[in-house]
Symmetry: C2
Subunit: 140 residues, 2 copies
DNA sequence: ATCACTGCAAAGGGTTTGCAAGTTC
DNA sequence: GAACTTGCAAACCCTTTGCAGTGAT
């Protein structure tokens, strides 16, 4: 299963060269779950101070071209990036802005939307907002 | 109901000055349903050739600040803008890129997502993709 | 040895800002 | 007449591109 691949294998399977910079970029995205360009840049520079923003962008684009990475657009936030994994939707905490994945049953969701829209739903992008995020709740 | 207000009244209710440029901007967005900045700029310039892009942006931001306008972010498309109306989700045709509104029952959708996520869903942004759009289908 | 990647600097595209002139209320 | 809006130009992101040098396979 793709989700359990090491970053290195993910890259090799796509025929991408495994450079230390690229490997760390993938690892940091994996660790973060969802991350924006600047935060990623900051983290990578702790290890490779000479790394340039252009390299971040080139890698993000290369990884998206290979289908390993996905862009996540949420209102009022910078674009985030996440590794492509099996079906999930995004939950965003209105208090702290934390984005987390919620695993779903793809067919259940498709058929729900087919029912209410009358359309043959091939794909969907769903973000739900609420205030009961794990992080905030645990701080109460 | 807000949805049936004239553009002029929408602006007055928010205490915004009703200039000819602004009025036309609101009308064009209303007509288009969903429109990107450049298309809007093109349309407005047919009537006001001297209108500047900065004015488009200032108005978009002012209208969003007043809660009259909403930004619609869809992968692979320029940002679109739509007047804020009652609950709907977006259907995007994978063939032609047409974006259309699908009216929904807000409570039904909330409770569906509460059920599958275990979260107290306060809001959501949903885009569904398919190939059976009205425009494409009618051309078959 | 080849092809791809990195890093730098410059260019590009989209959006915002400051200010003077004009408009709405 | 006060407050706001427009239009222009300049400034500001954020992102991409070109190219020379470096590194992976």
């Amino acid at each position: 299963m793709q989700s359990y691949q090491t970053p290195e294998n993910l890259l090799r399977e796509k025929g991408m060269k495994v450079t230390p910079q690229r490997l760390l970029i993938v690892r940091e995205i994996q660790d973060a779950g969802h991350i924006d360009v600047d935060s990623l840049y900051g983290k990578i520079r702790e290890v490779f101070p000479s790394l340039s923003l252009a390299t971040i962008y080139k890698n993000i684009n290369a990884l998206m071209d290979e289908g390993l990475l996905r862009e996540v657009k949420i209102d009022g936030m910078k674009n985030l990036y996440e590794l492509v994994t099996k079906d999930h939707i995004h939950f965003v905490c209105s208090k702290c802005g934390e984005v987390s994945d919620i695993g779903i049953d793809e067919l259940e969701v498709s058929s729900f939307f087919r029912k209410i829209s009358g359309k043959n739903v091939k794909d969907y992008v769903i973000t739900i907002f609420g205030e009961d995020c794990d992080k905030c709740s645990s701080v109460n």
